[in-house]
Every structure is written in structure tokens, then in C-alpha cells.
């Protein structure tokens, strides 16, 4: 057999990324093993989270040493993560579809690169900046004009901040695809007497549908895992499921960050192990979302190739 040094070196390099992923997942699984034994499966449906009394002597429950009163229920955080992300997507999709179509169809050639660069610039704004804007502008606005209790922190504020963060992702993905719709399709639709709206909605959008779904999946991935901006405006609700858009929530990612420091003072280490288990749950959620989207459209993968 012939030895191919190029192929071998590239192969080993390409294996590094999956290997790193497997290593992280393995670490999480092993590290949170004891927490899995202690929490069982029902912790997914439990809404009460309590680190327990970290300043008393640990007690032994079912042979596992935990702080007295420790009870880890994570349903609130799963619901908070999914709800805020899906509402964010609901807000972001019309915004980004509208702006992509505007940029592709209605903007003069000379201004288009400037505007589309601006849209892409928004995608690289650090999330803490969005969080600060949320605290300084959005939260008081919601509190003043929308919320019946006068409290602006919560589900709606988180969803809007997330929506603004992911809109440029969807918009720039979609814009790239719209620009690549063959001129002939567009012009023949016009030639058939279609209005501008009909050209866009009937001749162009169907061709970029898979791209759109791909962009939404990318956006959802970012929204599900966003930490800092959500932490700043979510109101950090625990022990309660949100019952209105103005209810405080916690997402998995922001909750892990907010609890980690206290968890490190746990002499039994069970709190940190449970947070690792929570991280694993978040990983599973994002994996499921991505896999579902891939099933919905096998062409979605091409988007990323084209974008780069």
C-alpha cells in the first residue's frame, strides 16, 4: 500500500476537532456521574432548585454525601432556555428576512456593500454590550410602557436582546443566498408580468428556503448558549415557571455562570457536579435542535460552505 503523508497529516488534524469534542463530553459525563446517580431522571421535571446548606455538615443520602437540604430541579432552566430562544427566533426571522430582501432588492448598488457590512458588524458586537444596552434602555422601556408590574427584567427582555444578537446571522446568510439566485430566474419572472413582490416571494424565496432554515439553526445555536447578555436582563427567576412575558427566567447557560461561584464552596462538590450535568443537558438540547434541522433540510449544510 502506498503511504500518503499529506493525506495522513490532514486526516490527523481533522480528527483533532471531534477528539476535543469527545474529550469534553467524556469529562462532563464522568465528572457528573455521581450527580446523575443522586438526581436520577426526575430532576428534569422538578422546579425547585436549592444548593442546600453549604455551611452545615454534609448528610448522606442513598450513600452519597450532599449538603443538607440539597435539591436540584432544572425544569425552570430548560423551559427558560427554550422559551427565550424560540421567542427570539420568532422576532428575528421577520426582521432578518425583511432586511435581507431590502438589501438584495431595494438598495442601490453603491450603498449595498456598506449596508450589508453594517449588518455583519452587528453580528460581532460582544454580547455584554447587548446586555448593557438591555439594562440601560430596553429594561426601563419594558418596565415603563409594557409590563403591568413595572418590572422590565424577564422573558421578553431576554428574548428581544437575543433576537437582536441573532438577526444579523440570519440576515447575512440569507442575503448571500439571495444574491446568488440566478439572474435568469428573476428576470423571467419579471418577463411573465410578476410584480416585484411576486418575484421575491414566488421566484426567489423558494430557492433560498433551505438556506433560511440553515441560518435559523445557526441563530438558534447561538441563542440557546448565550450567557452574559441573558444573565444581565433575565431577572434570574428560580423556583417558578414563567407565566407571562414579563416573568423572570433563567437559562441553563446563564444559570450555570450565576451559581458556579457558590457551588465551589460546597464541601461535597455535588453542586458543581450537578452544574456539569446541567451543562450536559444544554449540550443535548443544542445537539437535538441541530440534528432536527439537518433532517428538515439536507441542503442546509451548503449554506455555510457558500458563506465562507
Amino acid at each position: 500500500m502506498q503511504i500518503r503523508p499529506f493525506r495522513l497529516s490532514v486526516l490527523s488534524l481533522s480528527l483533532l476537532i471531534p477528539a476535543a469534542l469527545v474529550a469534553v463530553v467524556l469529562f462532563l459525563v464522568v465528572y457528573s456521574g455521581q450527580a446523575m446517580l443522586f438526581n436520577g431522571l426526575h430532576f428534569i421535571f422538578n422546579i425547585n432548585w436549592n444548593l442546600g446548606d453549604l455551611y452545615s455538615d454534609p448528610v448522606t443520602v442513598n450513600g452519597i454525601s450532599v449538603p443538607p437540604g440539597a435539591n436540584y430541579g432544572i425544569l425552570v432552566f430548560i423551559v427558560g432556555t427554550l422559551l427565550s430562544s424560540f421567542i427570539a427566533i420568532l422576532i428575528a426571522v421577520p426582521l432578518s428576512v425583511g432586511s435581507a430582501i431590502f438589501l438584495a432588492e431595494a438598495v442601490p448598488h453603491r450603498i449595498r456593500p456598506v449596508l450589508s457590512m453594517l449588518v455583519e458588524l452587528v453580528a460581532v458586537v460582544p454580547s455584554v454590550v447587548f446586555g448593557l444596552w438591555g439594562i440601560a434602555v430596553l429594561v426601563p422601556f419594558i418596565g415603563h410602557y409594557l409590563s403591568p408590574t413595572g418590572n422590565g427584567y424577564g422573558l421578553l427582555a431576554s428574548a428581544i436582546v437575543l433576537a437582536l444578537m441573532v438577526t444579523p446571522i440570519i440576515a447575512s446568510t440569507l442575503l448571500d443566498a439571495l444574491m446568488q439566485v440566478p439572474k435568469e430566474n428573476r428576470e423571467s419572472a419579471f418577463a411573465l408580468g410578476a410584480t416585484h413582490f411576486e418575484v421575491v416571494s414566488k421566484a426567489m424565496m423558494p430557492m433560498v428556503r433551505t438556506t433560511l432554515i440553515g441560518g435559523i439553526v445557526l441563530a438558534l445555536g447561538r441563542a440557546l448558549g448565550e450567557t452574559m447578555a441573558v444573565l444581565m436582563v433575565s431577572g434570574g427567576g428560580i423556583n417558578i415557571l414563567p407565566d407571562s412575558p414579563f416573568a423572570p427566567i433563567s437559562t441553563i447557560a446563564s444559570f450555570i455562570v450565576s451559581q458556579l461561584d457558590s457551588a465551589e464552596a460546597d464541601p461535597t462538590n455535588m453542586s458543581v457536579r450537578t452544574l456539569s450535568e446541567l451543562a450536559l443537558v444544554l449540550f443535548l438540547i443544542t445537539l437535538t435542535v441541530n440534528a432536527t434541522a439537518k433532517l428538515l433540510t439536507s441542503g442546509a449544510l451548503n449554506v455555510r460552505k457558500r458563506q465562507s
Binding site: Y55, G152, S250, S258, A263
Partner: protein, 351 residues
């Protein structure tokens, strides 16, 4: 990772010993020290290190702000030499790590701030605050609050309680006050840097003292507990400071006098390991939410040079470092003489 840090540390120690042996005259040994932990202590450590490095050639101290829990955990693991914490180490942690010491460096306190249009003075007690944060007292004109504030016309409006959503020494001392003064809170929610906050409609979880401040300032009819370092900003944001009911039955505001009174009433009963709560202290004029700010250090350092560098710095911190020029900007107070002696005794244990 561990091997790497050990290697690094022993290398550093060897270098330090070599340089110490080379330099015959008295000079601070060149050992890099790392401080990490409490964000409340961070500004003070920064000011200390700048001044200490200027007057001690060879001093090399890095300060980082992570969180009290991280400060304790990293100090135990030996990743940092000085862990900064608003809370002392728990019995269970001390039992597991008998060489770890909690050394008070300064005294801090906390204000309970309220945003009530038109009202500048308000009396509150532990049981009232416990009721508010448990969701049992929901209106500002609740009979319990009215009874504590004769002559004040309280609004018929829902209370918006604001709490920290990140782990915090401020939550620790606030919930300790509630536990010490309210039996119901003590038996259910207890105290900690994070607690399982009961669900209340309209409540806000905010991040950091600055987040607490902006949430309280943006929401009229809210109440929040905020570290005393933020007192000036709270006042300029229009927030009032509540007078809290102390153990002697007096309503007191956090001032230098009332905080000192609390510190002095605990000074003589502080044990040798200095792990004691100053919350709800005795004394007619004692403010009830006062705490020591701790350095969490391991008495057994891997090299004598490291121990001596830490000894020099911490000794300097509780002596020269407690001058008003360092304490005033962060609203901390220096340790009373009796406690300073105990801290010095613990610092002398470094080896």
C-alpha cells in the same frame, strides 16, 4: 495541569531562594503572589498592591476579581496564594483542609436600600425583610411595616424585592441577618452565597452590586441589599438607606459609629481562628449587617520564600494598609486592635 503548576511553583520557589541568597541586604523577596476572589475586596487589594509594590522593591502581586467561592476554592487547591472572601470558610471545608486559615483584613458592611418616592427615612427589621423576600409581605403599607414606621405614610403599592442572582458575599451576610433575626427564615432558607429564593411575582434577580443598584434605581417601590462600597452611588441614584433593627431593639443606619460599635462588641469574643459572624451583634448602637473581609490562605506553603512574601504583605495590609486613605474610598473600616492581634497571630503561622 496539576503537575504543571507544581513544576512551575517549585521552579519559581527555587529561583526565589537563589535570588534571596544572592541579595545580602534586607529586601522583599521576589516571589510572585496571586490574589483572587471577592469582587468587593478587589478594589482594596488593587490599591494595596499598587502602594505596596511602590514601597517594597521586588514585590510581585497579581490581583484578580473572580468571586468569594472561587477565591476559597482556588486557595485550597493552591492555584492562588491569597483567596479573598467576604465569608469565612465553613466547618466542613476547614475539617477537610485543616491547614487553611481565614484571616480578617478589614471590616465591611451592607446597606438595605429602598426606592420609595417621597420617603427618605424608613425603619426595617429582619422579620420584615424575611417576610418581603419570602413573599409574605407584599405591600408597602403592610401592618408590620406601618408599625415600625409611625408617622410615615406608606404607599399602597406592591413591593419589588431585588436579590443577587450570582453567588455573592452580600447575599451571604444579608441572609445571615435574616437567619439570625427571624426563626422562620433560619429554619427554611438558611444562609449562603446563593439561596433558593422563594418565587415572588415581580421580583428581580440582578447581577453584581452595580446590577442591584440599577435595578433598584429603575424600579420605584423596590428594595435591595447593596454592599456599603456603593453607598455614594446609591445615594446619588435617589435610593434611601433603611435603618435596621439591631439585637438591642434599636433602629440604626450604617455609619462609621454604628459599624465600629458592632465590630467592637464582637472583638473580644472573636476566636483564635477568627471564623465568627458579626451579624446581629450585641450593643445598643451596633449596626446588624457587618462582616470581616477575609484572606483565605494555606498556613503550609510549598516554600519558605513564598510564606515569607505572604507574611510581609499581609502584615503590611493590616497595619499600613488600614489607613483611611485605603479604607475611605471603599467605605471599609480597619480592624479593632484586639482582632488585629489575632490576625497577626494567624499570619505568623505561615510557613
Amino acid at each position: 495541569m496539576k503537575i504543571l503548576t507544581n513544576l512551575l511553583r517549585s521552579g519559581v520557589a527555587a529561583l526565589a531562594i537563589a535570588s534571596a541568597a544572592g541579595a545580602a541586604h534586607a529586601q522583599t523577596v521576589d516571589v510572585p503572589l496571586i490574589e483572587s476572589g471577592s469582587s468587593l475586596l478587589y478594589p482594596l487589594f488593587n490599591a494595596w498592591v499598587a502602594s505596596y509594590s511602590a514601597s517594597h522593591t521586588g514585590a510581585d502581586i497579581t490581583t484578580t476579581s473572580t468571586g468569594s467561592g472561587a477565591g476559597i476554592a482556588q486557595s485550597i487547591k493552591g492555584l492562588v496564594q491569597i483567596g479573598a472572601s467576604d465569608a469565612y470558610m465553613s466547618d466542613a471545608l476547614v475539617k477537610a483542609n485543616p491547614t487553611m486559615m481565614s484571616i480578617p483584613l478589614a471590616i465591611s458592611s451592607q446597606a438595605v436600600n429602598f426606592n420609595l418616592p417621597g420617603i427618605s427615612h424608613l425603619n426595617l427589621s429582619g422579620p420584615i425583610l424575611a417576610g418581603i423576600y419570602e413573599g409574605k409581605i407584599t405591600q408597602w403599607n403592610d401592618p408590620a411595616i406601618v408599625a415600625a414606621n409611625p408617622g410615615v405614610s406608606l404607599p399602597n403599592h406592591v413591593i419589588i424585592p431585588v436579590h443577587r442572582l450570582d453567588g455573592s458575599g452580600d447575599t451571604f451576610i444579608f441572609t445571615q441577618y435574616l437567619s439570625a433575626s427571624d426563626a422562620g427564615w433560619a429554619s427554611t432558607l438558611k444562609y449562603g452565597t446563593s439561596v433558593s429564593w422563594p418565587a415572588i411575582a415581580g421580583e428581580i434577580g440582578a447581577k453584581g452590586n452595580s446590577g442591584m443598584l440599577s435595578a433598584a434605581a429603575a424600579n420605584p417601590y423596590s428594595i435591595a441589599y447593596i454592599g456599603i462600597s456603593f453607598a455614594n452611588k446609591a445615594a446619588s441614584s435617589g435610593l434611601g438607606q433603611a435603618a435596621l433593627l439591631n439585637k438591642a431593639g434599636q433602629y440604626v443606619l450604617p455609619t462609621d459609629e454604628t459599624i465600629t460599635a458592632a465590630a467592637e462588641s464582637v472583638a473580644n469574643t472573636t476566636p483564635a481562628d477568627e471564623r465568627i459572624s458579626m451579624i446581629f451583634a450585641e450593643g445598643a448602637n451596633a449596626y446588624p449587617i457587618v462582616n470581616y473581609e477575609y484572606a483565605i490562605v494555606n498556613s503550609h506553603q510549598p516554600a519558605a520564600a513564598i510564606a515569607s512574601a505572604m507574611h510581609d504583605f499581609l502584615t503590611w495590609a493590616i497595619n499600613e494598609g488600614s489607613s483611611p486613605s485605603f479604607m475611605k474610598p471603599v467605605h471599609f473600616l480597619p480592624l479593632p486592635p484586639a482582632v488585629k492581634a489575632l490576625s497577626q497571630a494567624q499570619i505568623d503561622k505561615l510557613q
